[in-house]
């Protein structure tokens, strides 16, 4: 059997997903198919549930305690709410990039290798050279290596620009070889130049990772995504190729939102 055939071409599939925060229902019957290896953006006005979908896919939502879910979220054809799913293993496969870059207050080097270290079997110790290789590869992948190679042991929270921090936050996900990258408005804290740089990077990672990108910036969705999901009031209104959505939206609400009649 070929491994290639074994891989499903849908990275994330939600099946009749409903979600409540306490009494408030945030998601209504969400059925999404996020394809592998491409970039899918999610747009919609604030409070429409796009971040909620994102935060459900790595199960960070349930930490709140008052979240209730019905339906299923399949990541790589496995329902992540099955009882036999281990959260650590899930989050190894599903990486999250936050709105505010949040490098850990340890060295740049340690930031990148952190995930790899915590997922290593107990007792096994990698040779220093191997760790160096992993760190360099990850930093090269996010186009940050040349900027930070001389200060790897400096604290990551000291003198990196926001753009560099966000790239570092992406780099630290890579050593554990995730399949899915979730990005929650990854550029909204950045200036235009930083935004362009991070967008370039996201495009760079296309193909190797399945990327789900939440954004408020319609131009960004248009520039960087293959497919686009438009959500409104907890429901998926439209999901199509980005070019189609922005040129010929099928629904009135989508057209109105894209044209900035509400937001």
């Amino acid at each position: 059997m070929n491994i290639q055939e074994n891989q499903p071409d849908i990275a994330i599939r939600t099946v009749s997903l409903n979600l409540w925060y306490g009494q408030f229902q945030a998601l209504f019957d969400v059925n999404l198919e996020i394809k592998q290896g491409i970039i899918t953006s999610m747009i919609g006005p604030s409070g429409c549930g796009k971040s909620t979908v994102l935060r459900s896919v790595d199960r960070i939502n349930e930490r709140l305690g008052y979240v209730r879910i019905t339906g299923a979220i399949n990541v790589l054809d496995k329902n992540i709410y099955d009882v036999d799913v281990d959260l650590a293993q899930l989050r190894k496969q599903v990486g999250m990039v936050f709105q505010r870059p949040n490098p850990l207050p340890i060295s740049i080097y340690d930031n990148v290798i952190f995930g790899h270290r915590i997922h290593r079997p107990p007792g096994s110790k990698l040779h220093r050279d191997e760790e160096d290789g992993i760190v360099e590869a990850a930093l090269r992948r996010v186009l940050l290596w040349d900027k930070v190679k001389d200060k790897l042991q400096r604290k990551a929270t000291l003198d990196l620009s926001l753009e560099e921090r966000q790239k570092l936050c992406i780099a630290r996900l890579l050593p554990v070889k995730p399949a899915v990258l979730l990005m929650d408005e990854p550029c909204s804290a950045l200036d235009p130049k930083g935004t362009a740089a991070v967008e370039d990077l996201i495009w760079e990672l296309r193909g190797e990772y399945s990327i789900l990108l939440v954004t408020h910036n319609m131009a960004q969705a248009r520039r960087t995504s293959d497919e686009c999901v438009f959500m409104l009031m907890g429901r998926v209104m439209e999901h199509s190729k980005t070019d189609d959505m922005f040129v010929t939206p099928t629904r009135r609400e989508t057209a109105d939102y894209i044209e900035g009649r509400y937001g």
């Binding site: 959260l87 936050f98 207050p105 929270t157 936050c169 554990v176």
Partner: protein
């Protein structure tokens, strides 16, 4: 050029109400300032009195010899050593327990759960219990029930119970001040709560935890009541040989020679007070310095 400026010169003038407000403002500032300055007076007076009356007693010999002549002469060595013992052992008991409890409360306990509320309530109430009540509790629990007798161990544990709530609260606050974003970053990489705490939260909370602990040193060193019934003696002619022995302590020694022993020359109690005050001052200053030093190295 400036021809317009003269024509509207009556704008924005203060009216009577503004002048009155400004006066009130000035008065309030002076009154509040005076009250703040008043705060310094007792501290300054205490330090001056202690230095003036106590410093003649201070000498190397005073610190390193036993009291003699019915405690009306000689030094304070056993009391000084006893205080060190009591403080050290009480911290040994209260720090691990307090920090562990704080970690649980801050990182694991579900908020708004009845058990969390009970623990919080207990912590607050424990902090409010007068030290003489702690003394009676120590007498009943450690001396009598656990059969430790009046001993360094019983007295230290009593002090530990007394300092515990402050250690918990200081540690909890310090853990809470670590930004939530760091925890989320860790969890999203699949780190367990413990890995998150160990690698990220604790290293960054250490400053505050240490400060809280150090401040408890001065509190434990200064308390008299909790150790009076549980392990501290008025006078012992020899040093304790272990933690099941009784010991002398500075605070109790001061109380004894000030109230129980006739004919003590004035400079001796003031000397003891000066030593005790000095220890507290040095420890507090060290804690403040440590906090500033560690804070200056920490940036996010």
């Amino acid at each position: 050029m400036n021809s317009v400026s003269g024509t509207h010169s009556v704008r924005f003038q203060a009216e009577p109400i503004n002048l009155k407000n400004a006066q009130v403002q000035k008065l309030v500032k002076i009154v509040l300032g005076l009250m703040a300055v008043t705060l310094v007076i007792p501290v300054a007076l205490i330090i001056l009195t202690l230095l003036q009356k106590g410093s003649p007693a201070i000498s190397w010999q005073f610190l390193t010899t036993f009291p003699s002549n019915g405690m009306t002469a000689g030094g304070i060595f056993p009391a000084l050593l006893g205080t060190v013992w009591l403080v050290a052992i009480s911290l040994l008991a209260s720090v691990p327990l307090g920090v562990a409890a704080a970690i649980y409360l801050s990182e694991y306990a579900p908020q708004d759960h009845w058990l969390t509320r009970v623990i919080n309530l207990a912590t607050i109430n424990l902090a409010g219990v007068p030290s003489i009540v702690h003394a009676l509790f120590g007498l009943g629990a450690f001396v009598a029930f656990f059969r430790l007798g009046t001993s360094i161990l019983a007295a230290s544990l009593t002090l530990a119970v007394m300092t515990l709530p402050v250690v918990i609260v200081a540690s909890w606050e310090s853990l809470q001040s670590v930004p939530q974003a760091f925890r989320e970053a860790c969890w999203n990489m699949g780190a367990t709560r413990w890995q998150t705490i160990w690698h990220v939260v604790l290293p960054n909370a250490l400053t505050g935890i240490l400060t809280g602990i150090i401040l408890q040193v001065s509190r434990a060193a200064g308390e008299t009541a909790p150790i009076m019934f549980t392990g501290a003696a008025f006078f012992l002619p020899f040093l304790p040989s272990g933690i099941m022995d009784q010991t002398m302590a500075l605070a109790l020694h001061l109380f004894t020679i000030s109230t129980q022993v006739p004919g003590v020359p004035e400079e001796i109690p003031f000397g003891v007070a000066l030593v005790l005050f000095g220890i507290v001052l040095v420890v507090n200053a060290f804690s403040i310095w440590l906090r500033m030093y560690l804070r200056s190295k920490k940036k996010w």
